[in-house]
């Protein structure tokens, strides 16, 4: 198979397409999604992805609960979201069709694996009649393709048993889509050859299925012609694809290098944060020590211990783990030690929606500890931005000797986008000095603060003459000795608060995207809604409206000019995947009558939903 398979039909050029692969959890939809993402990236498209899978590893086959999907949006221009609605749905079974049909617009295309549309599967999906046979899909362009039988036939020729062969049908789908959208095939062939090198039969079956899918597109008279999406004109530079969790891991390693402090990363397995542990545990040659703790509490405790010992201490989790780590965060606030807690948010409360995204831990991050216990909170706004956010979280933690909470979410964690690689040599030096000598009349006072940052000295065990004891009991200002004096407690509470509030002087002012300067409506966002807000603004601006956008990376403290920015606009819209948490903070802090656009459906906003809200406000 060569890279350019001559096609008898001229492709139609389109600027973008949104494809959703959907099938059973065991059908390999995530894998196919990853492949099409990779080849599209290397081909030069801009792209964004949205994996969506159930919490159960293998929910009963054929049921709606077991449907796993992967949406990819690729384009010849810079795009901001994985796309509101798929142009094409690849449905591997009736449940996949039923679960996803509601997201399609009339006129969308559906490729259905017709082999799986038999009585049993139809019944499991709740269909009384085969939707491929009746008129229920008349609004769509439906392409029934016998993927299973064609895969079995192709794989039989390479000697695959039918069970192995059947499992290759996702590669048939990948082959067909590769033809339909003129995707390069060589990288996929090479990938299959490498990935399954140890299992020659599986390798050959997958290759056969992939080629069969491709040739089916070419030869079957089902499709008028293929499409092509030209490469996008991105900013010059070197690019790779990156997911949020991978970017967090890389950001931590980068920060460790630029702080010249080895990482101790302790965590407990939890969706959707576990991939950070998986990734970091591979990079021991960077001096990264990883521990899978006995529980979330121990993970946070290990991080506190490592911070005391002078390492870069990090722990990550999702909401349920943040609940458990809150006591260690309180201790770290009292000990004034640097530590980064990453919260990859998911739907709550309680176990909630483990594999679905939400932004509902903002107030937990802000206030989820007893006592007056402020700490900095930063949030990532896109998968690649997770790299910068991790670096910033480490910088703040080290400079101010404080625990920092970094908020990501399930969408950012698993979603991919092209990342323009930073010049690693240009990353700033964020190292901080350890204390090496007594600081007060020949004695060492562990709570004698830097007058500028209010940070206390970081004296690590092993340093002669600086032995000191610190703990969760209130400490006397300066000496750090146990102290119950009322005035001292008041002073210490206010000092800790001032230290965090003072970080506002050390973070960038909030930039406002207001091209005309004439907007009276400001959309204020934070976290992963960035892409959807930007996409919505493109549409409303295209329609001639002036609307401004500002996006918060620093949630605590807020950028110093936030109040001033808010005051410039008549109205403020705050879209959030929660029931109004940032809105509540902004209202309390600035007495601004914000308007909330809230959604907690476990999936990102659609840009169109934000667009509609903006247009309604402009009416």
């Amino acid at each position: 198979m060569t890279t350019q398979v001559p096609t008898t039909r001229t492709p139609e050029s389109i600027d973008r397409v949104v494809i959703r692969f959907a099938g059973d959890s065991g059908d390999g939809m995530q894998l196919v999604g990853d492949r099409i993402t990779d080849v599209s990236a290397v081909f030069g498209n801009d792209l964004a992805t949205l994996p969506d899978f159930p919490a159960e590893i293998r929910a009963p086959a054929g049921t709606i609960a077991g449907v796993s999907s992967f949406q990819v949006h690729f384009a010849d221009f810079d795009i901001l979201t994985p796309g509101d609605v798929p142009n094409l749905l690849v449905a591997m079974n009736p449940a996949a069709l039923r679960a996803n049909l509601g997201d399609l617009s009339p006129g969308a295309s559906i490729i259905a694996n017709v082999d799986s549309f038999e009585d049993r599967n139809l019944a499991k999906a709740g269909y009384e009649a085969n939707p491929l046979d009746d008129q229920s899909l008349a609004a769509y362009r439906v392409y029934p393709v016998p993927m299973t039988s064609l895969t079995l036939e192709a794989a039989k020729e390479v000697g695959a048993k039918s069970r192995d062969a059947e499992r290759s049908k996702n590669f048939f789908a990948l082959g067909l889509i590769s033809w339909m959208y003129t995707r390069p095939v060589d990288p996929t062939v090479a990938w299959i050859e490498t990935r399954f090198a140890a299992q020659p039969v599986v390798r050959d079956a997958n290759l056969a299925a992939f080629k069969a899918g491709f040739h089916f597109g070419e030869t079957a008279e089902l499709f008028d012609h293929p499409f092509e999406v030209q490469p996008a004109q991105l900013r010059p530079g070197r690019y790779r694809n990156i997911t949020g969790n991978l970017a967090l891991a890389y950001g931590l390693i980068a920060a460790s290098q630029r702080a010249t402090l080895p990482i101790v990363y302790a965590s407990y397995p939890i969706t959707p944060a576990s991939d950070i542990l998986h990734e970091l545990s591979k990079h021991k040659n960077f001096g990264v020590r990883t521990a899978q703790a006995e529980d979330e509490i121990a993970a946070a405790g290990m991080a506190v211990g490592a911070a005391f010992a002078g390492h870069l201490a990090v722990t990550a989790t999702s909401g349920p783990g943040v609940d458990l780590k809150s006591e260690a965060m309180g201790l770290a606030i009292s000990l004034e030690l640097p530590l980064v807690l990453i919260d990859v948010q998911r739907g709550g409360p309680s176990t909630g929606l483990p594999t679905k995204t939400e932004q509902s831990d903002l107030l937990l991050a802000m206030f989820g500890r007893h006592g007056e216990a402020p700490l900095p909170v930063v949030a990532a706004s896109s998968p690649s931005h997770c790299f910068d956010t991790a670096f910033e979280a480490v910088r703040l933690a080290l400079r101010y000797r404080t625990p920092v909470i970094l908020l990501s979410d399930g969408y950012l964690a698993n979603s991919a986008e092209p990342w323009r690689l930073p010049d690693t040599a240009a990353l700033p030096d964020i190292s901080v000095p350890f204390a090496t000598a007594p600081n007060h009349d020949g004695e060492f006072w562990p709570y004698l603060r830097d007058p500028d940052t209010l940070a206390r000295p970081w004296a690590v065990p092993g340093t002669p003459g600086l032995m000191h004891r610190i703990g969760g009991l209130e400490k006397a200002d300066g000496t750090g000795n146990v102290e119950y004096d009322p005035a001292n407690h008041e002073l210490m509470c206010r000092l800790r608060a001032s230290k965090i509030a003072g970080i506002a002087r050390d973070i960038p002012r909030l930039e406002v995207d207001d091209p005309s300067g004439d907007a009276s409506l400001l959309v204020l966002g934070w976290g992963s809604t960035w892409g959807q807000i930007k996409a919505a603004l493109r549409e409303v601006r295209h329609a001639g409206h002036d609307v401004a956008h500002a996006h918060l990376m620093h949630l605590n403290p807020f950028p110093a000019n936030l109040g001033e920015v808010l005051a410039r606009y008549e109205r403020v819209l705050v879209p959030e995947m929660n029931l109004g948490q940032l809105s509540r903070l902004v209202r309390a802090e600035f007495l601004v009558d914000t308007r909330s656009l809230n959604q907690v459906r476990g999936v990102p906003f659609r840009a169109a939903e934000i667009e509609a809200e903006i247009l309604e406000m402009l009416l």
Partner: protein, 345 residues
């Protein structure tokens, strides 16, 4: 001038070098004082400098201990000391890390962390002060209080089955398990020294009297005149024998269980010879079950001392191996790993 500054100029350290300037605030007569004294007096003999020591504690009376040591120390969160100490040890394996905990801190709220630190075999010296009561909260029953114990929270007697701390530690795969008590400084120091020298997690239960809320809990075995007949001193390689003139001893019965006997009845040859290095913990466990509560003859000393890989040493070795295999980390190469593409003007 802190004491250690003096010390750095002089080759030998004294007790004073390990005493902080903080006033000790336990109740007068508390057993904690004698443990503190034993540790501070022992320290100069261990060959470890104050700055190389880290004492980590949880919450409770005994957990105030680190404040009184002129070393590095963290008085942390209730029950979490083993986890926090694990973080210190994994970051800095060269340090000597001690955990100070109690029966409530270590076996109730922190039970999970204790057993996992033991099974991982983190190089920690764990001193568990067992006074069978919650002292700092003023007298509730603890996970080592006997059934029927009347306390503020159990006015009609406790109905909870207590833990046997030695059995718990052995069940958690601890590589070093010992028991001592606050009435015998020499025994404490010898036990602490062994625990400190052990590579891996060393667990020491200290019977410690709370003279305010549980006075005399160990009186039946620790009163001076009771000790000869009630304390079974375990010595490696020697028959397990105790009592005046060594008249009593321990044998393995026909069920493989241990039994206290009169030596005259069975003959000295039948006595169990204590072997703290036995890979199988069965006999050590059986020794720990000889006394259900400290009211009958109770073994003290080292129950088990075996060598197995140390957690942070293995962790460090993986780092060394990874660097030997892949060279030191190259950040630019890392972020370019996988598929990359260039976009030019």
């Amino acid at each position: 001038m802190t004491p250690s500054d003096d010390a750095s100029a002089t080759p030998t350290l004294t007790r004073k070098d390990f005493q902080s300037d903080q006033e000790v605030r336990w109740c007068p007569g508390c057993g904690d004082y004698s443990v503190l004294t034993a540790v501070q007096l022992l320290m100069p003999d261990l060959g470890v400098r104050p700055e190389e020591l880290v004492f980590v504690s949880g919450i409770g009376c005994s957990s105030r201990f680190p404040y009184y040591m002129n070393t590095y120390g963290i008085h942390s969160i209730h029950g979490r000391a083993p986890a926090i100490a694990t973080g210190v040890a994994m970051a800095r394996p060269e340090l000597s890390v001690w955990v100070i905990t109690g029966d409530g801190d270590g076996l109730s709220i922190g039970g999970n962390h204790l057993i996992h630190a033991l099974r991982r075999n983190v190089n920690l010296t764990i001193l568990l002060f067992n006074n069978q009561i919650y002292g700092l909260t003023k007298g509730q029953y603890s996970p080592t209080s006997a059934i029927g114990k009347v306390t503020k929270s159990t006015p009609f007697g406790s109905v909870d089955q207590p833990f046997n701390p030695i059995s718990v530690a052995l069940g958690a795969e601890a590589s070093f398990v010992a028991r001592t008590h606050d009435m015998d400084r020499k025994h404490m120091q010898e036990t602490f020294r062994r625990a400190h020298e052990h590579r891996g997690a060393a667990f020491v239960e200290i019977y410690q009297n709370c003279n305010v809320f549980n006075d005399g809990a160990f009186e039946q075995i620790l009163a001076k005149d009771k000790r000869p007949e009630m304390l079974i001193s375990l010595r490696h390689g020697e028959p397990v024998r105790f009592g005046p003139d060594g008249a009593r001893g321990v044998v393995v019965n026909r069920f493989g269980e241990l039994e206290v006997v009169d030596v005259a009845d069975v003959g000295a040859d039948r006595l169990l010879v204590h072997d703290e290095h036995r890979p199988d913990p069965t006999l050590a466990f059986a020794l720990s079950r000889l006394a259900d509560q400290p009211t009958t003859p109770t073994p003290v000393g080292v129950f088990r001392a075996v060598q197995r890989p140390v957690y942070e040493e293995q962790l460090t070795q993986q780092l060394v191996d990874a660097q030997a295999r892949s060279g030191p980390g190259d950040l630019a190469a890392l972020i370019e790993s996988g598929s990359v593409w260039d976009v030019s003007d």
